[in-house]
């Protein structure tokens, strides 16, 4: 029965009013959950490449949903069609909603036309994670790379997205860079649109 009692029963989750996005949970709750995600995936794979791929896949699902949510709620169902538009959407809006701040920087790659980099001094997901030496260049930021790939893919800008540690002089912990390499078709379309 619908509408009886204090709490309204919605038979369909799509009928429920959309939350404003202001609710918060503690950082440690998220950190615990993320660590379990990584630990579970470690038991399912044999090598680092697989582990990164699985984290990325998990992130991809998050990204696709974040795009839908934000487009509907914050952008009034407007779609980004330009490359710089979608990049600045990811760099500011998506980062602000998910991590509470805009990303530290957005740069265009100097060597290749199709590469862009979003950098962050310390990714929220990596805050309580330390990588053992024998795991080499593994970066849990692969989850965030997956989120970015999910957003870009859903918006019609297919890309290969990876996360890398970039050691910085004078800083103990390396910076993290999310490298975005757009597909051919995106650049061709962008050139056509002038």
């Amino acid at each position: 029965m619908i509408g009886v009692g204090k709490i309204k029963q919605y038979s369909n989750v799509l009928d429920k009013p959309l939350t404003k996005g202001k609710q918060e949970v503690s950082l440690s709750a998220f950190a615990f959950l993320f660590s379990e995600l990584v630990q579970y995936n470690q038991t399912q794979v044999d090598n680092i490449g697989e582990l990164e791929r699985r984290l990325e896949d998990a992130g991809y699902a998050v990204g696709a949903r974040v795009l839908e949510l934000l487009c509907h709620r914050d952008k009034g169902n407007r779609r980004e069609t330009r490359l710089l538009g979608i990049l600045s959407f990811v760099h500011s809006t998506v980062w602000k909603v998910l991590f509470g701040k805009v990303a530290d920087s957005l740069e265009k790659g100097t060597e290749h036309e199709d590469e862009y980099m979003i950098s962050e001094k310390e990714l929220l997901v990596n805050k309580f994670i330390s990588i053992p030496k024998d795991m080499g260049t593994f970066n849990c930021g692969a989850f965030v790379a997956g989120i970015v790939r999910g957003v870009l893919d859903g918006a019609g800008f297919p890309a290969v997205v990876t996360a890398h540690f970039v050691p910085m002089e004078g800083q103990q912990r390396p910076r993290t860079t999310i490298l975005i390499k757009f597909a051919e078709e995106v650049l061709r379309r962008e050139a056509r649109l002038g």
Partner: protein, 186 residues
């Protein structure tokens, strides 16, 4: 030095670092989806979620005790009260209440009206046996295990299955005396 008074859940929540609940919700959804793809059996997924919750609980209790300054609870009633009022508020930002005490005071229900884990979630027809929030039962079980209480935590009511609130039944099985890893006289 006088003992520091225990802080309320709201006060602690205002002082810890917080993240957007949607990131938390979506990450949890990704975990459940991965488990469903890998394990395929709903019972296996329930067990795995419980186990993951247990792993979280045994570490969460340390942070909880450190941040909340609660003194030793005298009985099980106080314990569940503290879990509902302080614990849930501190980590998930939601208030829970304790009801349905049985005659000996070993079994009660924790009721959650709001649950950040289940925003945007709907259970499809082929997953009707899934306890989507089973991680919470594991967390409580793990945390209480570390303070010498063996408990059994089960779901009585689940909003995703058509009820109006989330209700967890926490049953105290026994107190386990602390074991020391060395003999006193050696």
């Amino acid at each position: 030095m006088a003992p520091i008074a225990p802080r309320s859940g709201d006060a602690i929540f205002a002082n810890v670092e917080r993240v957007n609940a949607e990131l938390f919700t979506l990450t949890y959804g990704a975990i459940v989806r991965q488990l469903l793809t890998d394990l395929e059996e709903v019972d296996e997924v329930n067990k795995q979620l419980d186990q993951m919750g247990y792993n979280i609980g045994i570490r969460l209790i340390d942070e909880f005790l450190a941040k909340s300054n609660v003194s030793r609870c005298n009985d099980f009633r106080e314990t569940t009260d503290v879990i509902a009022k302080v614990g849930f508020k501190m980590f998930l930002g939601v208030a829970a209440s304790v009801t349905n005490w049985d005659a000996d005071g070993t079994c009660c229900s924790i009721v959650l009206e709001d649950n950040p884990l289940v925003d945007f979630v709907e259970l499809p027809d082929n997953c009707q046996g899934l306890y989507y929030c089973n991680i919470l039962s594991g967390v409580i079980r793990g945390a209480l295990d570390m303070v010498s209480m063996k408990t059994e935590v089960t779901w009585l009511r689940d909003v995703l299955r058509g009820d109006d609130v989330f209700e967890l039944q926490v049953k105290l099985l026994k107190h386990v005396p602390e074991e020391y890893p060395y003999k006193d006289d050696e």
